[in-house]
Amino acid sequence: MTDALFLALSTLAIWSGWRVFRVDSMVRASFQLMVSFIAVGLIAVLLAAPYIGIATIFMMAVEMMVMALFMVMFMMNPAGLNPMVMVHQHRFSIAAGIIAFAGLTAAVLLSDLPVQRVPEGVDVVRNLGHELLGPSMLIFETAGVTLLATMIGAVVLSAHSGRYGASDTGSLPPGLTPGGEPAGRKPENGGHHHHGGH
């Protein structure tokens, strides 16, 4: 039973991981990645980590939702209405991927891995909680500060109007060719956006 589930879930994880880079629609790509994460989360449950496994699913559902929003926002042809290939150094990347896989597999097969299973009946979530509030308390609080820094950094970088006015005043878009005409937005519009709405 466990083996069959593991086989099905790992096939799903790898297949949808591969599809991420093969589909035209950015929404599909993000949610394929989400499916891959869900499969890995369920495998983690099989590996006796019921908390980490399920929590992965719920964290990744949210993160991939946000991922999809940004993918659609910034990618050309986000729905893949025209078929497209947007890759560079393709051969090299395939080779690197295969070498990474082969190398890791060889390392796994060749090395002598220690065996010590999770004991039956251990409440792993409780252990994790004690770890968090005990020995790893500092890590936990540091994570808090890191997340705060992330929040502030993300807001500073992404919000348009800070205290000092629009963040893009005076900037120029790059040329489509080196030294060419600025692409898209014309420079004379660059600093004169109308900040309506509020």
Binding site: L81, N82, M86, S161, G184, H193, H194, G196, G197
Partner: protein, 292 residues
Amino acid sequence: MAMNWLSALARGAEIPVFAVVGAQGLAPVEGLRHRPGLRLVDSPRHARVLLVAGAVDGAHKTALERLHAQIPTPRGTVWWQAAPLFARGQGVAGDDPLPAIRAAAGADDPDQRPDVPPHPWQGMGPHGQGGRGMMGGNPYGRPMAMTADDIRDGLALDVYNARFGPFLPMLPPGLVLDLTLQGDVIVSVSVVSPPFEQGMQGDAPDLCAARMLRLMGIAPRAARARGALLALPKGSGTRRRLAAWLRGQTVTERPSPLPEALPGLEWAEAVLWLASFLPSHLRAACMPRQAA
């Protein structure tokens, strides 16, 4: 067997009706809302019968035909106190369209528009489906949206240009707007044709309040409606006007011209703003040049 059983069950169902509101049609359609045996729906996709209530002028014939085509087949049409613009369905002159709607629920009108894609596209591009490059061509009959400047946050992302109306249920009936949207924010507006004349009945405070509250998701009952004011920003015009209607007063404020007022508003705000004026005032605001 199961199919017969389903059909027998379906015979007692309410008929889903998409109401196209023409001139003087607002109040009669409002009266249909609580009639048993039919249900007014917001989208033609959910409907079985197209009900044209009140006169629709010939300029909107194509729009009406498009709407007619969007009702899944089989479909029926009823013209209620309206001159038929095309030869489908039957007309009703009296006060009660229900028998005609029942009859139309058994009808099957053929399409009124020719079956051609909006733009030719098949076999135009290298993949046989209309696109050259990533953004070019007309894949599936339409071009893709292109970037343009935004008025709010300076991210030049895609704009969506479209003609909205005349029969969108959340806009005043008859109003046709050419809108440019970035996301759900309106960037620019031009008025193509003004809302239909609704007469004195259309300006009744309770009817206006009911329309606005329906857009905010509740049925108009006094006790609930009081709380509805809290949902709108304090001091905003929409809140002031809704409050006046709920007190049973007539709103005297007149809207500023739409191309100045709407840009920068988010979709829900814009819809509520439009619904917060008397239909007659809104009509007047949309047609100063024609009057002059």
